[in-house]
Symmetry: C2
Subunit: 234 residues, 2 copies
DNA sequence: ATTTTAAATGTACTATATACACTTCTAGTT
DNA sequence: AACTAGAAGTGTATATAGTACATTTAAAAT
C-alpha cells in the first residue's frame, strides 16, 4: 500500500551555517568559511553546510554541521531563514535552511580549521560565495545587528572575561559606526549585568582595563520580570 | 549514472499559512482556519497548508495555498519559520515552512470560505490545532506584535479607508492592551503618512469619524531616507 | 431646545538619549 | 626620580521622546 502522502514530491534538504566570530585584536567581525573540496563548485568559498538526514531535525542537522566543523557543541545558534528557490543550487533542487551561530574565535582550535578547510574571513572583505550564500550572509548580518540591540548575544562572541573597551569595539564592529564611550558605558553598566573582576587586561595599555563578566543568571532573572536589554544606538 | 547528491535522503516539504484577519466590528484579531476534510486528523482544525511541488519555490507554494483558499493574490505574506522536528507530523516526516499572511476580512468572499471549509476564528478562543500548528500560531503572533511596532503592516488588515479609532482598536487588539487615544493619534499623525479623506464613517457614532488612507508612496520615500515607522508602546 | 454618544483635541511632566572634554593610571624612557 | 606617552576611565547639561491626563465638539435622536 502506498503512503497517503506518496503522490507528493520529495526534496533534498540542507542546512547552511553562517558562523560569526569576533577578532578582538583586529576589532573585526569575521565569518568562518569553507573552501570547498568537492563538486559542485570545488575550490570556491561557501558556508558550512550539510544535508538533513532522515532521523534528525533541522536543529540537529545544524548542530551536527557546527560540531563537525568546530569541535564545539552548545554554540549559540538560531534558525534564520529557509531558501527555497528552485534553481538556487545548480546541482539539483535543494532547499536550504540557514542558521546563524556565534562563537568566540579564541575557543576554536586553529588545527581543526586547517583540517576542515575552514578559514576566518573578515566581514568587510568577503570572497565571492557560491549559490545564494551571500544573500544568506547579508540577512544574517542584518539579524545580528538587530539581535545585539535587544538581546545580550554579543557576549557569545567574546571570551568569558572581557573589558568594556572590547565590548564597545565589538558593538562598533557590528554597527559599523562609532559609539560614544561614556554613553555606552553608562548604558551597559546601569543594567547591572556585568560583574567587575579583580583583574586587568594589560596587553593593550599601560594602565590596563578592568575585566568584566556577563552575569547570565541575573539577566534571566531580570528578563523574567519584564526587563529589556537595550544597547541600541540611533 | 547516479546524481552527486543521490546518497542523501529526500523529504516531504510543506508550507503552512497563518492567515490573520481583523474584525472591525468585533475589534478582534482572527485566524483563518480549516476544518480538515482528509486524513490524517480528519475533522480537526488546522492551518491552511500544502506540499511544495517540484517546480515551485517555497514562496510560490505559500502563495498558491493562500490564493487557492482565498481567491486573492498579492497578499501581504512573509516567511516565518521552518519546523523540522522528525515526528511533528504523525503521517510521515514532513518539514514545514510556516508563512504568515495579513488580509482584510472584508476582501474575502464568505462563499469561498464555505466552499473551502475555512472559518475565521478569534485569536482569543482558538480551537485545538493539529500537529505543531499552535506553536506556529504563537510564533506568528509574537512576530505580528513586533512587526506592527516598526513597520506599517497593520494597514494590511484594514480596508483602504479607515478611521483613527479603527486603527487604534486594531493596535489594541494586537497588543492586547489599551492605548492612550491622544498619544496614539499624536504619534501616527506626526508621521504624516495618513491622508485625511473628505468623508466620515457614520455607522458607529452620530458625529462620525473622518476616514484616512495610508500613503504607501510617501512611506517608501521616507523609508528610503532613513525614516523609521514606530507605533510601539511600552 | 435638550440629551446622548462617540470623536477630537493640548499641555505639563518624566524619562531617556545625546553631545561633549578632561583626568587618571602606569609602563617605559630619560 | 622625573617625565612622557597612550589608553582607560569619568559627569553634566541639553534635547528629544514618551507618558499621563480631562474637556470640548459634532450631530443624530428625542
Amino acid at each position: 500500500m502506498t503512503h497517503i502522502y506518496s503522490k507528493y514530491p520529495k526534496h533534498y534538504l540542507a542546512v547552511d551555517c553562517i558562523i560569526f566570530g569576533y577578532d578582538i585584536a583586529e576589532k573585526e567581525l569575521k565569518l568562518l568559511l569553507i573552501k570547498r573540496s568537492f563538486e559542485p563548485a570545488l575550490g570556491q568559498w561557501s558556508l558550512a553546510g550539510g544535508f538533513v538526514q532522515e532521523n534528525e531535525s533541522l536543529d540537529d542537522a545544524a548542530g551536527r554541521v557546527l560540531c563537525t566543523l568546530t569541535g564545539l557543541s552548545d554554540l549559540y545558534m538560531e534558525q534564520l531563514y529557509t531558501y527555497g528557490e528552485t534553481k538556487r543550487d545548480p546541482g539539483a533542487r535543494v532547499i536550504s535552511t540557514a542558521y546563524f551561530a556565534l562563537i568566540g574565535i579564541h575557543e576554536l582550535d586553529p588545527e581543526i580549521n586547517k583540517k576542515n578547510g575552514a578559514h576566518w574571513r573578515s566581514i568587510s572583505s568577503l570572497p565571492e560565495l557560491i549559490f545564494d550564500h551571500r544573500v544568506m550572509v547579508d540577512r544574517a548580518l542584518k539579524e545580528l545587528v538587530e539581535k545585539v540591540k535587544v538581546y545580550p548575544v554579543g557576549f557569545e562572541l567574546l571570551p568569558e572575561k572581557f573589558t568594556l573597551v572590547q565590548l564597545q569595539n565589538l558593538y562598533e564592529a557590528i554597527y559599523l559606526r562609532n559609539v560614544d564611550k561614556r554613553n555606552f558605558r553608562k548604558k551597559i553598566l546601569s543594567m547591572e549585568l556585568l560583574d567587575k573582576q579583580d583583574e586587568k587586561e594589560r596587553e593593550t595599555s599601560k594602565k590596563g582595563a578592568w575585566y568584566y563578566r556577563f552575569n547570565v543568571e541575573k539577566y534571566r532573572e531580570l528578563a523574567r520580570n519584564g526587563f529589556f536589554f537595550n544597547l541600541a544606538v540611533s
